[in-house]
Symmetry: D2
Subunit: 431 residues, 4 copies
């Protein structure tokens, strides 16, 4: 037991508490026939919570964590503290990047050995904990070797390095019983078209993803392969811009039945979409997988990765999740980071706890909206005209047939109210 | 001959002129073995130049054109003036929306008859002119019946109306010898997800586009079907967000060999992309078709549709067009509109003439960059490592093979300079 | 009594109702010692609710109101319906633009006579109603004569026309017992710097505002003069960009004691600020006046003017209002417009009613946060170090003195947590 | 002589060269009666060119410079290389932050001693060089002690530390013969209003700036004090948002005669303005000082600090500079940074050289536009109506007088074309 969270006891559900506690998240409360924990499937993330030093483009490290440094001992200390936080928060899942859990070695082989050793150490920790692995992923963006891409690098040796890294990470994910494997391609894009062969790079990326899927099947990994879209930052343009872009990419490379989406609120915002848009679109295309529940500041043009705090927005998030059937292998991962001024251990706990409460309120509101049914009834009624045989026949007919009918029947269709304000009022009854 | 452009003679190529003339655009100048006119394939657009009254969300009509009104006589006057402008500008092409060339009738049938009559009138005008039809399109967004969508409307009768309208427009395009047919879906999207069945609407849109393609083949139309992406405005979200989105859509509905893109600079900007990105992406996906050459103001969050005026940017545009093999059926359409304060006939001519000069300079710079070859040589050199047999073999191998090689060979790939500043300096030699 | 709102009775406070009713807004409920109605001081606006036809840049009229048209009879009908809505909503205030309440005449004099006649008609209506005038304003942006500015126009005759119009409107505001007079300068800016003399135009705008203030005093108008900042749209740049810009402008022209701000959420967003930022800044500068409570869509780059619907955001709004001491002459005006698809009379009522409920919830949450006191206590504690005599002395000292102390005392100040997540959690206890 | 730039000779003016050379910048060429060097007054910046390791929010160091590290010897090596670059580029000026030229010490006193020693070393280097100091500035944002502000920090000891730092930097600037002193307040703002006392912080910032001005006069520093506006990043909101905001701030604290602006293109873009807007506004308010000539990517929502590369835009920049009378103490500083993939010494030279050429082309185009006179003549003509005695009299009159004239004279002012397209065409003759 480290003393990092000294004085902070595991959080309890206590609606009236003004101390550190869950005021809304009760893991065992049943919502729509399922425990809240099983709906939300919260995960905490290694990187922002334990590996990020607090820097931004104009300032360096603000956090002073006893585990910062490059030795295996410090990596183990970091893991110890991480599991203490998982216990305090009672989260059922966690997530990692390879580069965040092990020190970089002097060679690929040394990095791999470090990684395998720390993976075993974490597996040992998992044996004494309820917290499981939601997903693992490879950090193919921080080191300078990836500055011009990983799979999309002009240098095939970096493609090889990336392939080797994903192999290690997928092996480890399987060994740890992970339920998904995620790919985020922060450097899979470009800074300037002037030095970029867009077509070639997309082909490299497509083949790389096929290789990942092939390897998954080879080793018998049962989890889902998830791609996390983001439009830009760090790159000027990233190939996984948004859900619609990735869908086209999957179709191009024959992967639409193999790969699902890990969708982040902040990335949706940077792409010019609402979070619920990305969720609804992924669900409609059959590629919804998991979510990263960190918000972007609406006035900032970069990825702020803040803990969610707006219940009405989060209610719309879980409304889409529930309409999509809820999570299967996916979950609610906090890819959120503390503000760099939030220096204290208690801030780390409070950030997660507040977010979990916001998600719990959102989920309950979403469930209530679904149970109430008014929203879905009004939506269905709006399209009711399409249920007629005549309307369906038109879809199997041709332009000339439709045109003939318009004139023959003297059609003069009149617009009907879209009811947006009334629908928003209905939502507000539940949030 | 109307007197609208009284005193304005057809523009000549005269580099030293300070009067209305082309200082750079010489239709007959040969660039890369082809006349400039045949490269650029300029088109003028009916709507902004002749139908738009100058309104914006906070103000009404500013232009006072003698043809404004709803009679067939005024529609003919409008066509007369349009062809006078085409002659003054010596543009080889024009484009129309149905609603811009004919008065709305009291019924679909009356609108169609008005339309057919004015189409015949325009065909008569074309016989005395060099100007041909680049593309026709249907206005399925201005009338209140389309407020909730055309093909994606919750009301199937509006789908029918839209289908009938596109049939008329495609028939007319063929009759006029049009080289393409364009679809822009300004209302094919949503204002709020709360009243929208995203999946259903995308299915309607997909089937509609299939019906358009089927009808094209049925009537033997030889031109291209083009979709024009736009992310938003007027809708909060539009289904044809950008090139990547439309590509996925075409794949979903089996249309990727049938439909190409009409890409607009202003729409690219609203989607968070550079224009050259959209062009390069469309070319790499085999769906590049045509361009709308109107720019967006970089500080405005809506579609400003200004005439292009920045030669270095336009040079990068035509660099992508030339790399894509140049236009086949497509061309350079000015979907640009005069500023609403630019009241005079001479403004209309000057806006087009300046834009044509900017495009001519851009084309010549792009051709010079290609002929010089440095940019492409540097690009090719950057990816040269991929030409080795070993690199290509890796693409047909698997993750485990790549991983084995990384360790066996002790790979330690070193990053190389991306040369962005030097590449930008090279571009600046030509613009 | 018209039949426009046929079947819609005056709204009652009924928390359990699923019909049209206030679920949260109880005008008489006392919050922080004051009736809710007296806190919120709701106003309904003539323009979007009764004068706007539903157009957007890509589509025309969607609303079909029986009062649309240009006669005095229709203007009276519009006033009748407006007062019926005020009664249904039980709003204590309304607001107008001159151009929205009277038909444009063939000359200034005729427009003025129309205006004066309708003003008298409205005064008659007010006598039978509880609804008072919050503010009047002049529409100096819709008509084509204002396309290049009103006070900032290059044509001094348009300055004169604008001055005459404001005189009429200020006279009418006083006659109607209005509590404020507002100026919004949608055309006071530019489309391109190339044709603009920025310095001269700012001087014209400054002198114009001085003349308005002088005239206010001349006629003994006791209300406040309010300027409404907006950064852009319709203009590329507007001189009243945001609160900070207007403050500098007021200082330049000696008006900071005479003029206050009317701050709109949507305009704040377009300027890159949160609404609460603009409110807090205005309060800190002593120029806070009134608010327009219409939100912008966060993914749209233009003014969407939607009814507010997010309680946590609105709570932060009223938190700033309450901290500023609450409204004096100002109030909460809905400059919101129905979505153009919301065609029905019930939509108009529901839009306002839902917004009033959202504001009521926000106000009560804000009051509870203030009463609780934790937020303010934590804020005060963060700056407590500045209360020492030594710290205050430093502010009256010089750089050299401060430098001497740093070295003499060997200062090594350590950063303290900013507590952002904890503060956000505290807010979430109340919303 | 270090070997960092081995093989790179001082750049010559050689328009036909395809090697590293100036193709447009000829320091001695006379433009509008002044040498180009004296117009442009180029400065190179220490920080991005020599101190920045190449990191971004998702990746670490990419540059491997022999001087990276924390010793005085390395600081001297860095200075040696910097002056070698200044010689190669033949720039007349350079700029520094304190934290970029000296290693941080264990205490304020040690940092100050390091700083003073390296300042003396640089002074020694200046004696053998033509390159002078354009401005110095204090880095009050990188170290964690400044995470919550410098002058605006809740901790008065950090205010003291900041004051002491600025004293050192201003002393050093004077000692080195610097022509200006700059303040940029990247942390003078907030992350959340919830923990911020906006009013108090602005008072602290105002008093701090007064103290800087007082100290300047005390020590007899003859240079200008410059404030560099930026709206956000790293903070969510910064108090020096843009030129208009800073103007109001200067007025509030009585500093408008004492402080001028250092305006950066990238910061203007982030604030929603064009660069020329900020320049024209500062000039019109009498507070134009100097420029940072680094552009922002138009599709990125953060500060990209790229070397300028678009001649038409830069021409409009220098057009405003020339109209403002040109630089006095100010100049053209490159606060630009290499792309993090531009690893090689030659990239550093090429980045600057290309930018200097772009500026030279822009300056010459701007001068030609001024000499031609058409733009200014058309602007003057547009406002000519204001030159009449009647128009001027209106400005000294009142609303009632203006109103009386409108009716008495039956004014019906007609809008005139704003000529935007024609003006843009005229600009394009020169760029």
């Amino acid at each position: 037991m480290t003393d990092f969270f000294k004085g902070i006891a595991p959080l309890q559900f206590d609606p009236a508490s003004s101390e550190l506690a869950f005021r809304h998240y009760d893991a065992d409360e049943v919502v729509l026939g399922k425990r809240m924990e099983d709906h939300l499937r919260f995960a905490a993330a290694w990187w922002h919570s334990f590996a990020w030093p607090g820097g931004d483009p104009f300032g360096g490290q603000t956090f002073e964590r006893p585990w910062f440094g490059d030795t295996m001992d410090l990596a183990r200390l970091k893991a110890d503290v991480a599991f203490e936080m998982f216990d305090i928060l009672n989260v059922p899942f966690f997530c990692w990047h390879d580069a965040d859990i092990r020190p970089e070695g002097a060679s690929f082989a040394e990095s791999r050995r470090n990684f395998e050793e720390i993976v075993d150490y974490i597996i040992g920790k998992m044996e004494g904990s309820k917290t499981k692995l939601l997903w693992g992923t490879a950090n193919l963006f921080s080191h300078r070797r990836f500055m011009a891409g990983a799979a999309t690098n002009p240098d095939p040796d970096i493609f090889a390095w990336s392939a080797a890294t994903v192999k290690s990470c997928l092996d480890a994910t399987q060994k740890m019983g992970g339920q998904n494997y995620v790919l985020w391609g922060g450097r899979e894009g470009y800074e300037t078209l002037l030095n970029t062969d867009l077509k070639r790079e997309r082909q490299q990326a497509g083949r790389f993803l096929q290789m990942v899927v092939e390897y998954k099947h080879k080793i018998g990994f049962k989890g889902a392969i998830l791609v996390e879209p983001k439009p830009q930052e760090p790159s000027k343009h990233q190939y996984d811009f948004d859900v619609a872009t990735v869908y086209g990419f999957l179709k191009e490379f024959g992967l639409e039945g193999e790969v699902q989406m890990n969708i982040e609120q902040g990335h949706a915002i940077l792409a010019g979409h609402s979070f619920e848009h990305e969720l609804a679109l992924a669900a409609s295309l059959g590629i919804f997988g998991s979510i990263d529940m960190n918000r972007n500041d609406y006035q900032s043009g970069w990825d702020t990765d803040q803990f969610p705090n707006n219940v009405p927005e989060v209610a719309l998030t879980y409304y889409e999740v529930l309409k999509a059937g809820g999570f299967t292998t996916g979950g609610t991962n906090f890819d959120a980071k503390l503000r760099r001024q939030s220096l204290d251990p208690v801030d780390l706990i409070a950030g997660h706890a507040g977010a979990m409460d916001v998600c719990a309120r959102g989920l309950k509101a979403a469930a209530a909206m679904l149970e109430d049914g008014t929203l879905e009834a009004m939506r269905a009624e709006r399209y009711a005209g399409w249920d007629s045989a005549e309307a369906q026949a038109m879809l199997t007919g041709d332009l000339a047939g439709a045109a003939a009918r318009v004139e023959a029947e003297g059609l003069d269709p009149q617009p009907r109210s879209g009811r947006q304000e009334i629908l928003e009022n209905i939502v507000n009854r539940f949030v």
